[in-house]
Structure formats: structure tokens, C-alpha cells
Point group: C2
């Protein structure tokens, strides 16, 4: 480890990570921080002490203005901070701006502009297809030609730790004659990776696959809470709506793309070949291993590296019709599911639509979420020099329906 | 007409309307205005002259802060302005704050938070069902049980008058083996009515049908531009995405609910009966007549009064799962189509999927939009005392694909 900074072994936040978030303390209002080991760096006063203009953006209660500045600014801040942390003589000034992570409250790190959710794991899409359309092909004809996606509700994106109230709504099984109203009985998760847009684009001008790193600021974890019974009844013909819109949780730390350099891998080969606007130019697959914990029991370790559609392709597709990007746009991978049974990113798949209950560490069994249940999704990536980079975690607990 | 104000006969903006917008002039930056006949009232200085605190919100370049204040404040501002316009002795002060409408630029009147599009005209849904699923029932089984909706892209909502670049994307007809990429060849409109949310709601707490008027500030017109070929290929199984997200146009003037009192009508009877959370408490159907003009030729007059799902039901449905509202949320009715052929709100329906071309006033024929085409949607409602209230218009012109 470079420099004088001591970070406990196994921390998701070594000096090679430096993810951004928004924190407050009992004394201090919301401002931008960087996670380092078991501390949070209060960035603005440190930048001010060094006479940096960017101290103004760092003092704000949201990442958006920093994210809007673009890659040269992002790189400069990261280089300045990395250098500072490697410089013994700056130890005291840095120490004076560390806050113990246990003493801070973490907030939604950015204002979400538009939220788009993709559907880019082939294993997930095939599992869902087999469960819901047993007599047809598991994948729809368009699946391998374009990254299927839809818009979700930006206003109900919440930060990790926020409780999730069990949604109520209409449900109807094929056997029932009419729908009934009540709390969802099939409340689920979707373990996903989110990408946060910093630099906007001009309306009418597509963003190419090769411009991914100019627009995307960083990466977070995302839990796309899903009420399967509500979703199944409502979704034809216009897609998911209330089955998803009650809450989407994101991790509090946004990991910069630069911290994930060692995690970059080629996406899987694509056959049939994709149209030219979707042809990958650089490796933007990411070797992340997610871990899903249900009431303390690890139930799945979904691998992100195998996702059929990579985020550079998702961004190119999202904008190819001229749709513009705004600072704060969030797009998510879709459920991350691997080939193995213990690599599935939703309880729908893990319990095979409720037919194969899971047993948790306390001996209890589960198919879908019960009131009081808590889910945590974490993820790790290879970092520079054999270190590991953590994405932190996104957690949420289910409260009873109102 | 009350008071001393002269508004030309046939103006959409009599003193009983008083819709809000955001305007600028060559000399003045964006601020809130109210349309009156052929003028725009520069509201903030007028309020300041009368010593009103709300002058601060009225001087802002967006309606959001005014909309967030809630119905008592909205009513008070409207009452103050109506009174002012009826008072002969205030003539000079009002006149000094009128700007000729022809000299102003109108802007997107509010910052769009989340945008939701419904699908609430039975005639439209049946027409589309017949065209796309000729062998099945025209309506999906859920259609009469809930107002089907989905989230659209808030970041590409533009104000009337903004050009629309023809989107490119993937299209594939059933006869083709693989999709191809190119400009949409089936570019369409959807004539809709939009509802703008002022007062937010708490996450987790549904908004009842009877709270509609406490949350909704006003009404606008909306054109949900749609690329039918892109939409047809992409939409299974998660709904519309790039076929819609390139642009959605709204009219510049938001008509307050209070101006539409005389237009309120009962929605149509609903059979089967709806679940209790959707039961209407008050008449929130609206007797609006839309008019669609294609290159100057009126091609349709869709009646809004017959919409199967009314906006109070849409709002209750949207939030019944606990999804929260934010100031600036926009939800749209879905294509307004009546029973008659000349009452259909999309070219898909008017040309019966391209099989029955329309003839325009210049003798040319059309099925879908050509480059350079211009579409205007206007609407009228009955006002107080036999007057008519206009919603103004939403227009847009098609530019060639990039």
C-alpha cells in the first residue's frame, strides 16, 4: 500500500478505491466525502486548504455538479487526493479532516435524473423466460439484437439502509376470475450494478460506445425491489410499472471508473453479430463478484463479468434514437445471474418461482421476502497491485404493508 | 366578460383561464407569466407592487416552487389576479406589465420530475389491439381493472415548438430475418392530455382518488411522438423504450384545475366494477375537445370526455404501491381516441396502420410523418358563463434523421 495511510485488511475502501458519497454528521450538514477504510474524508475543507477551485463543488450536498464537470476534472481530483494520501508530510492536514464512518449518516449521493433498467444477463432472461413462458423460447426474438430496457421511477430511488414498505396492489393468478387488492405476497429483489452519468449529451446526438468513459462517472450497487405478483398482472402490454416503482435502493458510494481499471474485461462473444452502433471498442465488461445476503445468510454470488450486454453498449443503445443524457442519469444492468444455481440474482430464480425454498442460517425457509427480512448486496472487484476494490453494500429491510 | 380587460373573441386565453407559463424576452430573462388574450402578464413585478410575498416564487424561471406551495396558495394567487383584472382602477399598473405574446419566447414551464404515460382510451387500446393482435381479444385481460401505464423519459420532454429529429434505431418486420438500423419509417404522434403534479407525497403513503385536486396543479397538452417500427421490435417483454424516448412535447401553458370547473364531467360507467381504491369520488372527467392539425389540415377531433380511466384514478393507481410524488411529476392520459374515425388521436389509427392514407389540404397523402411535416394539437373546454377555455397548442416539426 502506498503512502502512510493505514486501511484495515479486507476493507472495501483501500486507497486505490476512493469512492464518492454524500454524508452528514450530528454537527455538519450534507457534503461530499470519500470513503477510506473505516473513515470518511471530508473533502471540501481539504481542497480549500490546498487552494483548489473545486472546493466549491465538493462542499455541495450532492455529487451532480462534480459529476457534470467531466473526466479531466474527475481525474484531476482523484490524482490530487491519491497524491495527498501518499505524502507523509500531509498526514496531519488529512487526519484533521477524517470522520469515523460510524459517526456519519450517508445520503443518496446524487440527484437521479432519469432511471433506466436493462435486462442484460442471458442467464436471468432465460430463467425468467422458462418460468413465465414455459411453452415458448426462453428469449424473445429481439434479446440478442439489442439490450432490452425500460424507464423506472427516479423519484423512488433511495439510499442503502432505507426501509422498504411492502407494496400493495392488484394481483390475479390465472385461476382467479378477477383481481384482488392487497399486500404483495411475492416480494423479491434484483441484484444489479448501476452506472451513473456525469456529463450530459445534446438532444438528438447519439453517444457512441467509445464515448462511455467520457459520460459515465462511476458505478454503484442497486437493488431493484420487485413485487412479482403485481408485476405479472400489470405488465402486458406496456411493461413493469407498480411492481417496481415503490422503491429502488442504491449503495451510498459511487466508485469511479478509474478505480476499476484492473477489473475491466472483455464482454462475452456475441452471436449473432450486433449492429455497428453496438460494436464494442474497448473492454467494458467488469469482473465484479456480487454477494447476496438474506438475513445474514449468503444465498448467492452472481458474477458480473458474464453479462451479455456491457454498459458501453447499453449507453449507446439508450441514446441511439437521439435521447439526451442528463447529469444524474442512472442506468442499471438488470438482474445479474450466472450459470450456476448459487449465482442467481433474484429470489424468483433462486427459489425457482417459489417451488424450491431456500434454508437460511437460522433454519427458517424462504421463497419470497417476509416482513422484517433484511437483504444486503455487496460486490468486489480486483484492484491494482493485487488489492481488492469493494463497491460497499446496498441494504434494505422490509416493513409491513400500510 | 368581467372588468375592463379586452380579449379578442376566440382567444384561448380569456380572463376565466389564466394559465401559467415561463417566458423570456429580448431584454428579460425567464420568469413566470400568465397568458391573457394576445398578451402575457409579467406576474412577479405586479405581485411585488401589491406587496405579495409570493412575488419571489413568481420571479423564478420555473413553475415548480409555485406548484409546490399547494392549493390554498394557487387559489389565492388566482383570486388576486382575477380581482386585479376586474378592477378598473388597477388598469394602468396591469397594462405596464403586459408583454405582447408575439414578443416572448416560451420555455418548458416546469422541471419534469418523473413522467408517466397511461393508456386510458378504450377506443385507442381496442384499435391498437386489433391492429397488432388481430387474432386475440383487442383488450388485454387487465385493461378494465387498472389504468395501464409505464414510465417515460423525463429528460426529453420539450416545449411546444421544439423541432423533433427523426429517430434512428433497430426495426425488423416479421418477414425480415434480422433487424436493420436506420431512420424510423413509421413516425407517429399521440394526442394526449398531461397532468402536472404540484404537491409531493410521502414515500409509502398512497394518494387517494379524493386527493387529486390537492396534488395536481394543472393541465397541459402533450404529444407523445412514437416511432412505431422501433417500438414494435423492441417492446416485448418490457414495454416501450426507444420508440418513445427521443421526444415528448408539451404545451407551454399549464391551465389551472380551477379554470376547468365548468368542464368537469363524470367519467364513463365502468364495468366490471373497479376495486375500492379506484372508485371515483368526484367528477374528474374533463369535457375537452382536442384537434389535430397536420401541415395545416385538421385530421382529427378527439374527445377527452369519454376516456375510460379518469386522471384521479390514474393518480390513485400510480401511488397505491407507496410510490411517492414529486413536484413536477407529469402524467399523461395516453392517446385520446373517440369512437369515430375522425376522432382518433394517432396516425397509426387514422391511417389504419398505413393502409388508408389521409389526404391533406394540399392534395398530398400521408400515412406516417414525413420530414418537414408539422403537427399541432389544440384543445378547448367549456368555461364559466358560456365562455370557452383554450389549452393553447403543442406543435412540433420533423427534422431529417442525423
Amino acid at each position: 500500500m502506498t503512502g502512510w495511510v493505514e486501511v484495515p485488511d479486507g476493507s472495501p475502501f483501500p486507497v486505490t478505491n476512493l469512492p464518492y458519497g454524500v454524508f452528514s454528521t450530528a454537527e455538519q450538514s450534507r457534503r461530499i466525502g470519500v470513503a477510506l477504510g473505516e473513515d470518511v474524508i471530508d473533502l471540501a475543507p481539504l481542497a480549500e486548504a490546498d487552494g483548489l477551485d473545486i472546493a466549491r463543488e465538493l462542499a455541495l450536498p450532492t455529487l451532480n455538479p462534480l459529476m457534470a464537470m467531466g473526466r479531466p476534472a474527475w481525474s484531476a481530483v482523484r490524482a490530487w487526493l491519491s497524491d495527498l494520501l501518499a505524502t507523509e508530510s500531509r498526514r496531519n492536514v488529512v487526519r484533521s479532516h477524517l470522520v469515523a464512518a460510524q459517526d456519519v449518516t450517508l445520503h443518496l449521493p446524487f440527484e437521479v435524473a432519469d432511471y433506466v433498467d436493462f435486462y442484460s444477463s442471458q442467464h436471468h432472461a432465460e430463467n425468467v423466460g422458462r418460468l413465465f413462458r414455459p411453452d415458448g423460447e426462453p428469449l424473445t426474438p429481439n434479446w440478442k439484437h439489442l439490450p432490452i430496457g425500460y424507464h423506472g421511477r427516479a423519484g423512488t430511488v433511495v439510499v442503502s439502509g432505507a426501509d422498504v414498505v411492502r407494496p400493495s396492489g392488484q394481483r390475479k393468478t390465472p385461476a382467479e376470475e378477477a383481481p384482488s387488492f392487497g399486500p404483495s405476497a411475492r416480494l423479491d429483489i434484483e441484484a444489479e450494478v448501476g452506472f451513473v452519468v456525469g456529463v450530459p449529451s445534446r438532444h438528438g446526438a447519439p453517444v457512441g460506445v467509445d464515448d462511455f468513459a467520457e459520460h459515465v462517472f462511476g458505478v454503484c450497487l442497486l437493488n431493484d425491489w420487485s413485487a412479482r405478483d403485481i408485476q405479472a398482472w400489470e405488465y402486458a402490454p406496456l411493461g413493469p410499472f407498480l411492481g417496481k416503482s415503490f422503491a429502488t435502493s442504491v449503495s451510498p458510494w459511487v466508485v469511479p471508473l478509474e478505480a476499476l481499471t484492473a477489473a475491466r474485461v472483455d464482454g462475452p462473444a456475441q452471436d449473432p453479430p450486433v449492429l455497428p452502433y453496438l460494436r464494442r471498442q474497448e473492454p467494458w465488461g467488469l469482473d465484479l463478484t456480487l454477494e447476496v445476503t438474506w438475513n445474514g445468510t449468503v444465498v448467492s454470488r452472481p458474477p458480473f463479468a458474464g453479462m451479455y450486454w456491457t454498459p458501453d453498449q447499453q449507453l449507446a443503445h439508450l441514446t441511439v434514437n437521439g435521447a439526451s443524457l442528463r447529469t444524474g442519469d442512472l442506468f442499471a444492468s438488470g438482474t445479474v445471474s450466472g450459470a450456476g444455481k448459487a449465482e442467481r440474482g433474484s429470489f424468483l430464480e433462486l427459489s425457482w418461482n417459489g417451488s424450491e425454498p431456500l434454508t437460511l442460517g437460522d433454519g427458517s425457509t424462504r421463497t419470497f421476502l417476509e416482513d422484517g427480512d433484511e437483504v444486503a448486496i455487496t460486490a468486489w472487484a480486483p484492484g491494482a497491485d493485487g488489492t481488492r476494490i469493494g463497491l460497499g453494500s446496498v441494504t434494505g429491510r422490509i416493513l409491513p404493508a400500510v
